[in-house]
C-alpha cells in the first residue's frame, strides 16, 4: 500500500443473514487491524454500533444473504451510500447455509419450528409487527443490488481478507490465488 493519504476511507460493514463468522474472521487479521486503521475509519458496523450508513461511505462490506425484508432494506441503504460494495463470505455470495431452506415452503418450516417439532412448547408463530417478514427464499445479495467485488469463503480466512483489502486499498484488482481462494 502507499503511504497513508490525508483522508481516510470510510468503511461500513454489516451482517445480514449471516452468522457473524465473517466479521470474526475480519478480526483475525489481528494486529494488522492497526495498520488498516491508518487507512480507513469505520462507519456503520457492528464494531462501532453506528446505526445508519453515512452518505459518503467509500466501502461497504456485506456479510450474509437476504432472508427477510429488513435485510433487503439494509442492503439497499448500503448500496445507496457506499461507492464500492463487497459481498464477503459464502452466504452473501450464494445464500450459503440459510439458503439450504430454499426447497422447502416457508409455511412448512414455520410450522415445524414452532408447532410440530418435538421438545418445543406448542407456541405461536411469532407475528409481532416489529419483526421483519421472512422472504420465501433466501437470496444472495447480487440478485438484488449491484455488487462490485466478491470475497468467497465460509468464512474467508483473515489472510484472505487482508490480501483482498490491501489489494483494494492499493487500487489493484483483488486477487486471492491458491490457498486463499476457498468456497468452504
Amino acid at each position: 500500500m502507499d503511504a497513508p493519504g490525508k483522508k481516510k476511507l470510510k468503511v461500513a460493514t454489516t451482517s445480514l443473514a449471516g452468522c457473524f463468522g465473517c466479521h470474526m474472521s475480519f478480526l483475525d487479521i489481528d494486529e494488522r487491524l492497526f495498520t488498516l486503521l491508518d487507512y480507513i475509519e469505520f462507519d456503520r458496523s457492528p464494531l462501532t454500533d453506528i446505526k445508519e450508513v453515512s452518505p459518503d461511505c467509500d466501502l461497504g462490506i456485506i456479510e450474509g444473504g437476504l432472508c427477510n425484508a429488513e435485510n433487503v432494506h439494509v442492503l439497499r441503504e448500503f448500496r445507496k451510500n457506499c461507492k464500492v460494495l463487497v459481498a464477503i463470505g459464502a452466504c452473501a455470495v450464494n445464500g450459503g447455509l440459510p439458503a439450504q431452506r430454499n426447497h422447502l415452503p416457508l409455511s412448512t418450516i414455520l410450522e415445524e419450528v414452532y408447532h410440530t417439532s418435538p421438545g418445543l412448547a406448542n407456541g405461536l408463530i411469532p407475528n409481532d409487527p416489529e419483526l421483519p417478514l421472512p422472504l420465501n427464499k433466501v437470496h444472495p445479495i447480487h440478485e438484488v443490488v449491484k455488487i462490485d467485488y466478491f470475497l468467497p469463503g465460509c468464512p474467508p480466512s483473515g489472510d484472505a481478507i487482508w490480501k483482498f483489502l490491501t489489494d483494494l486499498l492499493a487500487g489493484r484488482e483483488p486477487e486471492l490465488g491458491h490457498g486463499l481462494m476457498h468456497y468452504d
Binding site: A90, G96, N102, P140, M181
Partner: protein, 234 residues
C-alpha cells in the same frame, strides 16, 4: 519424425488418433475439463475444454489432433467463457461447498478456483432435488450433479451394470437410477464399482467416510488443479 501441433505457442507432440486434450495433458499442459476422463470415451458435453482451433471454437476432448494445428486455450477470452459455463453449473444445482463432503477434492470447485470464479454471477435456480439415501453404503446427492455422465459411462462400460442414466432433455436433463423403484438400494451397485469412484463432484458419496481426510488437507488444498492434473498426466 513426431507430428506436432501448436498450443498457445508451444509445440505439442501427438500420436495418430489422439485428441487435443489427450496430447496436451500428456505433455503436461492443463486444459480445464469436467466430463473428460482419460479412461472413458469422450462425452463432449460440458464444453469446459473448449479451445480455438485455427480460430474456431471446438471441444478439445472430442477433436483429434492434426499436424500444424494452431490451438489457443489459455487466453483471456476463452477463460472468460469457461468461467461463465462454470458459473452456470453452480447456479443450476445447489452447491453449498461449506457443507459438502467433496469440498477440496471436487473438480468443479477446483476448476472454478483455477478460473478465478469469485461469484456465481447469475441468479440461482435453487432447484428441489431430493437426495437418495436408500443404499446402506452410498449416498446420492443429486443437488450437485453436473450431468457429466461419467458414472453412466463407468457403470455401462466398465462395471457392465447400467446403474445410471441421463434422462430428460435440455434444462430438464437429470440423472436417474435404473431400478423400478428409482432407488439406489434396489440396484446391484457395489462399493468397488468404477461408477462409485468416478464422480468429479459430490454426488456419489461413500457413507461414513466423508471427513476421513480433514478439510484443508485435501487434493486441491495441496496444489491447484492445473498442477495436480498436469503431474498425473490425466
Amino acid at each position: 519424425m513426431t507430428q506436432t501441433f501448436t498450443l498457445d505457442g508451444k509445440a505439442i507432440p501427438f500420436a495418430d488418433g489422439q485428441t487435443i486434450i489427450q496430447a496436451a495433458l500428456a505433455a503436461g499442459v492443463f486444459i480445464p475439463h469436467l466430463c473428460y476422463h482419460p479412461e472413458f470415451k469422450p462425452h463432449g458435453s460440458c464444453k469446459l475444454c473448449t479451445v480455438k482451433v485455427n480460430g474456431r471454437q471446438t471441444a478439445s476432448c472430442t477433436m483429434r489432433a492434426a499436424a500444424g494445428m494452431q490451438v489457443e486455450s489459455n487466453t483471456e477470452e476463452i477463460n472468460a467463457e469457461r468461467r461463465a459455463l462454470t458459473q452456470m453449473l453452480f447456479v443450476e444445482g445447489n452447491h453449498f461447498c461449506p457443507s459438502c463432503e467433496k469440498s477440496g477434492d471436487c473438480q468443479l470447485q477446483a476448476t472454478a478456483y483455477h478460473l478465478g470464479m469469485m461469484s456465481p454471477h447469475f441468479d440461482h435456480f435453487f432447484p428441489n432435488r431430493p437426495v437418495d439415501a436408500s443404499h446402506p453404503e452410498l449416498l446420492l446427492d443429486f443437488n450437485r450433479c453436473i450431468l457429466c455422465s461419467l458414472c453412466v459411462r463407468a457403470s455401462r462400460d466398465v462395471d457392465g451394470k447400467n446403474v445410471f442414466a441421463l434422462s430428460g432433455r435440455g434444462i430438464k436433463t437429470h440423472l436417474i437410477v435404473n431400478a423400478k423403484s428409482g432407488r439406489l438400494a434396489d440396484t446391484d451397485i457395489a462399493l468397488g464399482d468404477k461408477a462409485v469412484q468416478v464422480c468429479p463432484v459430490g454426488v456419489i458419496l461413500r457413507k461414513r467416510t466423508g471427513f476421513a481426510v480433514p478439510i484443508g488437507e485435501r487434493t486441491y488444498d495441496k496444489a491447484p488443479i492445473a498442477e495436480t492434473v498436469a503431474q498425473e498426466g490425466t
